[in-house]
Symmetry: C2
Subunit: 399 residues, 2 copies
């Protein structure tokens, strides 16, 4: 059976044929494609008591069309990541009902009752008490289980081999970890950031530090990552009165440095904070970086006694977590920078009435995170830097 691109009208028969839906008379389908890359369909019954989502990877980037071809095999990476997480953190991802490798299609939990975290934050609502801590735990659970601490050496090497993802990693290597620091047609920015963009391109120290992070991204095969853990990859809400979180879209998954997942989330936290400050809607923003790190660290330490390889001692764990921290700080910086002067920007900033002051302050913060990552040891160090850069950014924009 070959690959065919599903249209909404195909979905009922598709779900029926694959055993996911019995009653073809009681199914309605709508397309809800939202991300850049893929198509997503929601199927539901008339009573609204049943729902399923179908996500299909196209052989191109959805928003660009066939002119930007991209292998649909990214869905394999996504299915593999979900499979790994399902074993260790099933409460933090959508339920996966089936993966159809022929059609690069996942049949999964309907999450239409939940909201994308970025949307929640952009609307001025708080994170809620558990969100960031649980995202930190998610990273710990996925990465511990797929590290040399949680997985026997031979099994892990098979995972490394199965999880190489040349095409999607290349996007990160280019778009996140080099283009913003050189002249590139992808880059764009608000005209009032011209000076900073030029400054960044001319900053040889910054370039070398980014090169270092980039090589870490390319060579440090620590654990299976989500690979794109921004606030648009997280759904939040409540069911039966209890908070619910779902981390989704792990199609950029590969075996890489753990700090990359954490850093990506931090960058989004810091950008959301900048937005909230600009709008005067700061709620629980300040605690989130710390909460996510605490969630990560405490869960990783909780899992440590279960490690399969006890040659790694407690003193090594401390050192390892310190390195993950330092990498995370640096990757957070690169993610901030690329979201302001690189290819793909964030609505957190672009939808501000005046995006300039927040963008300038955040961009400066990003640079500091990259350059000074080995000097920053605690979440408070980053908070202090953030406050200083914000003040600086506001001063500069007032000049």
């Amino acid at each position: 059976m070959g690959y065919r691109i599903l249209e909404p009208a195909d979905v009922p028969a598709y779900l029926h044929a694959r055993g996911h839906w019995d009653d073809l008379d009681d199914i309605r389908v709508r397309e809800v494609s939202d991300g850049n890359m893929n198509r997503v369909f929601l199927a539901s019954n008339a009573a609204g008591t049943r729902g399923l989502a179908v996500k299909q990877a196209l052989p191109w980037v959805r928003i660009a069309g066939p002119s930007w071809p991209m292998s649909p095999e990214r869905a394999d990476a996504e299915a593999r990541a979900y499979e790994q997480v399902a074993g260790v953190a099933p409460d933090k991802i959508p339920a996966i009902h089936g993966y159809d490798a022929d059609n690069y299609a996942l049949v999964m939990e309907d999450m239409s009752d939940l909201e994308v975290l970025r949307t929640v934050l952009n609307e001025g609502a708080p994170y809620g008490p558990d969100t960031s801590r649980r995202i930190g735990e998610f990273v710990a659970q996925l990465t511990f289980a797929t590290s040399d601490f949680g997985m026997p050496s031979a099994e892990r090497k098979a995972l490394v081999a199965a999880s190489v993802s040349p095409e999607l990693c290349k996007i990160t290597e280019d778009v996140v970890l080099s283009e913003p620091y050189i002249e590139h047609e992808h880059n764009h920015w608000h005209p009032e950031l011209d000076d900073l963009a030029a400054e960044f391109r001319a900053d040889t120290r910054l370039r070398t530090e980014v090169a270092d992070l980039r090589h870490t991204f390319m060579t440090s095969a620590q654990a299976l990552l989500h690979g794109d853990l921004h606030t648009g990859s997280v759904m939040v809400g409540a069911r039966d009165g209890a908070p619910v979180i779902r981390v989704f879209d792990p199609e950029f998954s590969f075996v890489g440095p753990i700090g990359y997942d954490i850093g990506l989330y931090w960058a989004n936290v810091l950008v959301a904070t900048a937005r909230a400050r600009a709008l005067g809607t700061v709620t629980d923003h300040a605690a989130q970086l710390r909460l996510s790190w605490e969630g990560f660290e405490s869960e990783f330490r909780r899992l440590w006694p279960t490690r399969v390889d006890t040659f790694f001692d407690d003193a090594y764990l401390d050192r390892f977590l310190r390195r993950v921290w330092t990498d995370a700080v640096g990757f957070a910086g690169t993610e901030i920078v690329r979201r302001i002067i690189g290819f793909a920007h964030l609505t957190d900033l672009t939808t501000l009435p005046d995006p300039v002051p927040a963008s300038r302050a955040t961009l400066r913060l990003g640079r500091q995170l990259i350059l000074r990552r080995t000097e920053l040891h605690h979440p408070e160090d980053i908070e202090n830097l953030d406050a200083a850069d914000t003040a600086d950014g506001i001063r500069a924009s007032q000049v």
Copy 2:
């Protein structure tokens, strides 16, 4: 066609059938298996003007027999490594005439006119002017070409996936990078090293540093390595009056930290120096560590302008080479230690009339290399350490 284990009597027909040898009336074959793992046959004609070697991987470790099974797929790793090197350093490996994946057999250059470097050194002869420099160049040529500097990102990820070598890496992870520091039935040592062996097992700082090197070995996918670059993996000699070097046996090849290959060679250099000192046969030993590093560094720097990814700048190269150096120092230390109190020892020391003083001094040196690797910046720093530890070792053994 299935896999069959070749016996000497099978080799003529085998070479003939595969197109390597025309005249079946003029071929003689002898077995010259020497390493621990595989069988090697030499075929030659009566006039002695033609020779070929056939190396076959058995489904077990040769010296142990079927009681220690091991996948013959290690020959695939060897063939892959030779293929990579053939493109960049063909003058430093045996000519490969063919690889028969069904039978895990390589047909290759007859090197019976050359000598194993360890044998040369054990007999008191010098390295010769070019040996160590060319080994350093070999590492640079192989690793640059298979790093993210020498190979496009996507191609390299395919190489990483193809080159995972769970079974052989596990041997190194266990035998080199953990067993000597814990109680393990594999370990053995001269009774007069009891105190040091116990001290090493009790040294928690040492354990943590080795854990760090071990995790680097397991996760740092920098470049394709030889994987077992000791002086028994190098043949030297002269042909037509010119020096010849052949690095062989890359069956432990995998994508790992470049410092591992360099460090392994250094450990062998330092052990050979200890032997020569003990016997009073020191020749050109002192220069070899420096020469191999210079060979590596200058060749890597020479190749740098040809890099496929120019985002990596010159300042990053300096930093990268510094890290390779530091890793190499640490791995050299682990290789020394395991060769004296671990599973497989070296004839350099075991054949000394009194192996104890040299073993004690070298073991101490190994520990210092592991513990102080970030403080040692130049070959002379290691030479000084070596001299101090030797003096110390001799004093201690005289007490």
